[in-house]
Every structure is written in C-alpha cells, then in structure tokens.
Symmetry: C2
Subunit: 358 residues, 2 copies
DNA sequence: TTGTACGCGTTATCAA
DNA sequence: TTGATAACGCGTACAA
C-alpha cells in the first residue's frame, strides 16, 4: 500500500502544505485558481487524507462503537442484522465509521469494551441488551463518553435510549386477543432481568386491567427458555380453568408454544390462540403464521445512530429518549375462542372465573 | 472525555516520555524498579495509549474492514450475524478492530468502500457476496490492500478466499436422496451469477453422473426468486415424468417449495421429498423440518479473519484458499419415493425415463 | 539505564 | 492570499 500524503500534493502543486490543506478543506482564504489546481493535483495523485493524522490532530475519532451481544443462538438474532444495517446507513450518511465489537458486552473490564473506550477509538457508543443495574451505564457516564442505549433498564432511566415500546405493543396484542373474546390469556416470558420483559409484562397487566379482566397469577410464567415452554404449556392447560389464548413475549417462545401445542394434539388457533411479540421471519414462516407485534429494526438502528451522533456533536443537548411503537399484524394464529369443543369448554370455565373475579 | 496522555504519566513519575513509553512496551533496557513505578503511575492515572497516535506513527491501522451486503430482506441473512460473530471473535483475540460498512459493497466508487480503503483506516478487507467479474478484486489487487473474499467467483480464482464447498455439500444431499431411491430429482436455483449457485449446481450434475442417472434439463430451474418458485414447481409436477424429489440450493427457495407444495395439496415427504442447501433456523423450524446441508458460519467468520490477519502480517505468504465442507443433517422432509399412490406412479414413470436414458 | 530529538500526516496559529 | 512553525500523542534512533 503506497500512500500519498499531503506533502506529495504540495510538492507536485508547488505550494505549501498549509495551502493545500486549506484549499481542500474549503477555507475561504485561498484563491480559487489555487484551489482548482490543488484539487486537480490531488485527484491526479489520488490523494486522500489519513484518518489517523486527522483524528490525532482534532481529537475526534469520527467513529462510533457498537457492541453486539453474543446471544447468537437466539432465533430473534436475525433482527440484529437489520439493526446494524440501520446504524450503518446513518453512519455512512454522516461520514462516520462503525466499529463493531462482539466481545461480551457486559464485561466492562474486558477487552472488547475497553479497547473502544480507553484507547479513544470512538466518539461514542451504542450499548445493547441493557440489564437491570447495568454496569456500563455508570461507567460511561463517569467517563463522560456519549452513549445511547438500545433498550431500557428499569430503575434508572436518566440516560439517552431508544427502545421498542413493549408495553404499547403488548397492549395492542392483548386488545386484539381480548377483542376476539378471550378471557383467559396466558403470559409466557423470559427472565424479568431483561429490561424488555419488564415492560412487556407491564403491558399485559395494563391490558387486563383496562378490559376489567381477572389478572390470574396462575396464567403467568416468567423465566422461560426454549426448553421449558413445553412443560409450562402443559401445566397451564392442566389448570382447572385453562387459558384459551397464549401471549409469548418473544418470537422463539411463541414458536416453542406452537411445537408444544402440536405435540399435545392441539390445533392453533382452533384449540388455542397464539400471539407473540417480535415479528420475525420465523414468525411469518411458522405454520400457521403467527399474529405478532413487530417493528422495523432497521429504523431503530438508524434512530439510535442519529441520536448518538447528535449527542456527540452537542453533548449538552437535553436527554433524548425515543420509544418506537410497534405494529400489530394479525395472522392465522389467533381466532375467537370456542371454535372447538375443547375451546368451548375451556371458555365457559374461564367465564365463570371471570365472573368470580369481579 | 478527559484524556490522560503519556506526558501526564511521565510528569507524575518524574521521568521522560521516552522512558515511560519503553517501560510500558516492555523494552528490556529499563530498570525493573522504574518499570514498576511507571506501571503504578499509569494504572493510577488510568492511562491508555491513544490508538490514533500509535497507528499514525506505525502506519498500521490494527483494524480490518468488513462490508456487509445489504440484501437484508433475504431469509438466509441470519447467518451473516454468526459470520460477523466469528470475525469479531478472531479480531478480539488478536487485538484488532473491526470496521463494518453496510454501504453497497459492490459500488467500488462509493463512500462505504472508499472510506475504508483510501483513508487507510484498515489494514485489510473481508469482501463478501463475490460476483462474476467482481470489480473489487482487481481494485484491491492494484491498491495492494490485503483482502480475503467470502465466496468465490468463477473465472479468476487467484486470490485468497474462504467458502463453503457447494459442490461437496450438494453431492452429499444428492447422495442421500438418490440413496433413498429417487431417480428424478429437480434442481431449483437462484441466478447463476451468484458464485455459490455455480458450484452447487456443479455438485448436482456431478452427483447425477456419479450415480449414472439421467441429467434431464427439464428438471433444472435457474434464476428463481421467492415468488417464482410456486409456478416453477407446478410446472415441474406437470411434466409427463415429474420429479419425486426437489433440491433447493438456498433455504428460502426450499421454504417456498414447501409452501407451494402445500398449496398444491402435496405432502412432504410423502408425495415429494425436499432437501435444501443452508441449514438455517428457518429450515429447522419448518414443518416438517427440512433435510439440509449446513455449516458453521461462525467458524467461517473466524477463519476468514484469521486468513486475512495472517496475510496482513506477511503479505507474501502463499495464496490461502479454504473450502469448508458442510454437514448433512437428515430430517423429516426426505423419504423414499412411492410412499403414496402419487409418488408410486411418479416413480414408475421416472424409472422408465431412467432406463431410456441409459 | 535514561533522556534528547525527530518523524508520522494533519490542521491551527500567526506572520508575511 | 500564502507560508513557516507548532502541536496532536506516540515510538524510536541516537546520544549521554
């Protein structure tokens, strides 16, 4: 890699390095004729300023960092790529580099995190997969390094973030399911330590309250993984007044429900309605395709990057927090209860409970 | 962001900048006592050398670039994330930054590509989605910028690449399907301009030849997209001697076949066997789960990065090209032909053709 | 064993 | 309008 520097251009043009620099950076104190010649020579020599020298001088990296959580076994990981695509688009638009680290994002003392932060390779960070009491938040705050979080913790929210409005999305789904006539709706969730789980569950409770439905704790299961869905579902269906519909707060949980239901000989949606959060390809390709609330991860990425870059430009701007409302897509996995005898029976029982509850 | 430089450490330790530099970089001409004190001060001050200054002086970026094709609507894109994860892992291990560009990777004159190359932000590049006569290859070659391609073109292969062995994988699937007793096996592919399509199709032909089966052009369809699979399948099944099995060279084509078959009232695998290339989550979650050849994209990413970094370290090392053999996973979408009357009838017809062919 | 001086490529300051 | 000079933070001959 032969590299042509500003000196080469200066020599070739018979000018000083200073003049060349100013000519190329559009300073207004350089003669137009001179600027033209400089440009010509620069083009001829195929000159491009070194990012390093420039950054060293200006103490700005012109780059942002992104830590991708390595939960690469999860089905919804696909959305990450769209998210990255969105970030990349914004970065390209604003002439900023995107540095990606795949090291454990929660290890604040680890290599991946430190590289980016300490060696000043980036002007800011997009941090993902925010947990309760996430160590990165106070760390970055103290270092005064601009950052935007993708996702919210629960307790402390005094930082810029962008997130899907989990409560709103869940309420949309619930309104749809309740509107179909369901009264006993189970909630299947992952560990509540995940910030998104907290908000989605809050939406579930709020929807029940709004519809004046009984909020039966027996219908709620937290801390589930792909493996524990089947037993949980069997458990729920063994209740004296089993649910007629299931809401899964993540797509992979919903797919597990689908498999478990099939294993139990239940038809979706005839015997059991199913709706999920996250409208992924897997959800769309399921049989039947699942009713889901989804959002554009690409858009989310674009916004996250924009938020961060604005913050870098002007660190004192008021705290920016953005919630994106997801969209409900009704598909074939939800139907009115009581399409079959099982459903019918279940529903009657549920209604009794419902009335008892009031 | 307050930044502590080597000067601060020197001042605090009462030493010269040089000594501090050498102490921290493990030079052997510095007293152990001095080194200890320097380390102490550096830690106390939380000093970390600036990546920019270091790179400027050494003319090495300590970073590699990756262009992610923005074909983000394709179902198999999921694997990209694993690929990135693999690259990231190798980078972290070797203390190298990963710069990701999502701009159009094929636009050699575009921003995304130029940023990385011209401003010398990276020491090398991983280029993906290689096409026939890909403009990036000669460009990078001329610039003498080290690179590794993910995927192969067809004509010119005089550059380092890493790829899945498409021919081998397809032959594995074909051997399995032929072993089940199928004689009329359709081939569904995307545009042959995609390098991988060329090799996978070659594997198909080779497998037929090896089994001394008739290579009937009527069974082969190139240039398919998600939409055109259904008509193609209908077309194939309307042949006088229709196929009893279908091989799809990409997962999303296979899923489309599954849907189309269902729409036609055909059961997989009873009426039609189906096998695909690319063992993605979509394939695994399909109903029935599809027989597929797959590979670890993470592993591929790790290898690509390793190949590139080695090449950067020693540009004159012999051309490294690595083909990863995929693994066949037999699932429920393939079965012997003739399980049903339709299958039976079809098979008999096929056998006649088979004999005619010999 | 330590310090001085210089260079990496660029922009900013100030004088001409 | 242009150019000489310093500075950014670091590494490294070379001298002490």
């Amino acid at each position: 890699m032969v590299m042509v520097t500003i000196k080469d251009v200066a020599r070739q043009a018979g000018l000083s390095v200073t003049t060349v620099s100013r000519a190329l950076n559009n300073y207004d104190d350089v003669a137009e004729a001179t600027r033209a010649r400089v440009r010509e020579v620069a083009t001829a020599l195929d000159y491009h300023p070194s990012a390093f020298a420039r950054n060293l001088q200006g103490s700005v990296a012109n780059a942002i960092g992104l830590g991708i959580p390595n939960v690469l076994h999860r089905s919804y990981d696909m959305s990450w790529l769209e998210f990255i695509g969105g970030i990349g688009a914004t970065c390209a638009e604003r002439d900023v580099d995107l540095l990606v680290s795949t090291a454990d994002v929660h290890d604040v003392d680890g290599q991946g995190f430190q590289r980016l932060v300490r060696e000043r390779r980036v002007d800011g960070l997009i941090v993902c997969d925010i947990r309760r009491d996430d160590a990165r938040i106070p760390y970055l705050r103290e270092r005064r390094l601009p950052f935007v979080a993708y996702g919210r913790a629960v307790d402390d929210l005094a930082y810029p973030f962008i997130d899907v409005d989990g409560a709103d999305g869940t309420m949309q789904v619930m309104a749809h399911v309740i509107g179909l006539g369901h009264r006993r709706i189970a909630y299947l969730g992952v560990d509540l330590a995940f910030g998104f789980s907290h908000y989605r569950f809050a939406g579930y409770s709020a929807a029940l309250r709004r519809a004046r439905l009984c909020d039966d704790p027996a219908l709620v299961r937290h801390g589930l993984g792909e493996q524990s869905v089947a037993p949980a579902l069997a458990d729920l269906l063994a209740l004296p007044d089993p649910p007629t519909a299931v809401f899964a707060e993540a797509d992979f949980l919903g797919l597990a429900v689908l498999r478990a239901a099939r294993a139990l000989g239940l038809a979706v949606p005839d015997d059991l309605s199913l709706a999920v959060f996250d409208d992924s390809l897997l959800v769309q390709h399921a049989d039947p395709p699942l009713t889901a609330v989804g959002h554009s991860n690409r858009r989310l990425g674009e916004d996250a990057a924009a938020l961060l870059l604005d913050r870098i430009t002007d660190p004192d701007r008021p705290l920016a927090q953005r919630l994106v409302a997801p969209t409900l897509v009704v598909r074939q996995s939800t139907a009115p209860p009581g399409n079959t005898q099982l459903g019918q029976g279940v529903d009657n029982a549920a209604l009794q409970v419902y009335h008892r509850c009031k």
